[in-house]
Amino acid sequence: MMATFASLLLAALLVAPRPAHAQTDTLSTQAQSSADDTQVAEGRAAYARGLTAADEVRWSDALREFERAYELARVPSALFNVGTTLRALGRHVEARDAILRLLRDHTLNDAMLAEAQGILREEAARVVHAELAGLADLEGLEVRVDGRRVTLGAERPFILALDPGAHVVEATAPAHATARWEGSLADGARTRLELRLMPLAIDEPVPVAPPPASSVAESPWLWVSLAAALVVGAGLGVGLWAQDDAQLDPTPGRVGLRL
């Protein structure tokens, strides 16, 4: 908690328009000189409200104000405080991403850089990585974590970055039974969640065949042809099944990657 407040204090010093820091906070200066004055003033007011909320341990309010301050003024200290507030709220994935964005998008002075890198290391170490095992690329596949839909990237296997703690993960696809995992994940865990989508049996109406004309049904050629078709179909089916079965799979016990 003390570290959080120290961070907030540091950030407050950086955002304040003090001549002593003007050279070290060049982005802040640039933002203030190029943005609309009213917008910057609103950003500064939001930032001050964020600091007050943080002092009073109203983290949700603080987060909203720091996000607003960053949206308006684009100063790195506001984004830094977004990250530390998310950390205080236990939202480690978002905290990691905010600090990563800070490092990516801003040139920081040495003190903030060192602190941001330290927070990034801590937060990255707390994020859980959960591989979703057993999910095929089904059309209409959706994955929800704690009721929220997550966007699945193109990479396989699917890997979710989650905050540690209790979660419910559900996968759904048309014509498949919902697969569900529920449990608690420890800090920094690397784990596999089994979510196997089983196809639902579909009750299709059984077509009623019209009664065959007695003259055709009695023909021996009809039955010979049907028998031949069955033999051919069965042979092809066995052949194709065996062909599929003969394809190589990644070696068990290794991480499988498909080209």
């Binding site: 990691r96 990563l100 990516r104 990034l120 290391r121 937060e123 990255a124 170490a125 994020v127 990237g153 193109a154 990479e155 396989r156 970055a161 690397r190 031949a228 033999v231 051919v232 042979g235 092809l236 066995v238 052949g239 194709l240 065996a242 062909q243 079965d245 003969a246 394809q247 190589l248 799979d249 990644p250 070696t251 016990g253 290794r254 991480v255 499988g256 990657l257 498909r258 080209l259």
Partner: protein, 175 residues
């Protein structure tokens, strides 16, 4: 007669796998190993088929695996499956060395250093081959070179250890 031929063809084909596997061992450095003057904490291995374009970022959808490094050297054991139309193409690899797991998981990867590898021939239809890539020392050059793997160093189609997996310049899997 025709149906009999179809059945026979299907049954004969059943014995021929058309894809291929490369079991790739990647020797990784210990956590804290320096890339230049920066300690490395994570590594991403990314693969592409039939390309040697290392000058741009590879598409995020290409297969890749990210790992946090341990206190001691470890080996990442991959099994790369090539679909039938990839078997005879070259395989390109990038090993990214990052300061954090997050940096290695970013798209594109935010790497401190990179090892670039091309395997002109890594796969042979219907068989599993093996190769051990030594990536335990991050390169420190600003413009990384490309390591080309001699196809005769790719093991397969015979048990045991051999100095070369070719005979008369022809790979054992091609004989």
């Amino acid at each position: 007669m025709r149906p009999s031929c179809s059945i026979l063809a299907a049954l004969l084909c059943s014995a021929c796998a058309q894809n291929a596997v490369l079991d790739l061992d990647v020797e990784l450095p210990a956590a804290g190993t320096l890339a230049g003057s920066t300690p490395i904490e994570a590594v991403t291995v990314q693969l592409d088929s039939d390309t040697a374009d290392f000058d741009s970022d590879w598409a995020a959808g290409l297969p890749r695996q990210t790992v946090s490094l341990d206190a001691t050297r470890t080996t990442l054991q991959l099994s790369v499956l090539a679909q039938p139309d990839h078997v005879e193409r070259s395989l390109a690899l990038r090993v990214y060395y990052c300061t954090s797991l997050a940096a290695c998981e970013a798209t594109p990867v935010e790497a401190q250093a990179e090892l670039r590898v091309v395997m002109p021939r890594a796969f042979y239809r219907g068989v599993a081959t093996r190769y051990r890539l030594v990536a335990s020392s991050p390169p420190d050059g600003t413009t990384p070179g490309v390591l080309e793997v001699d196809p005769c160093d790719v093991a397969g189609c015979r048990d045991g250890e051999m100095a070369s997996w070719c005979e008369g310049g022809v790979h054992l899997c091609d004989r």
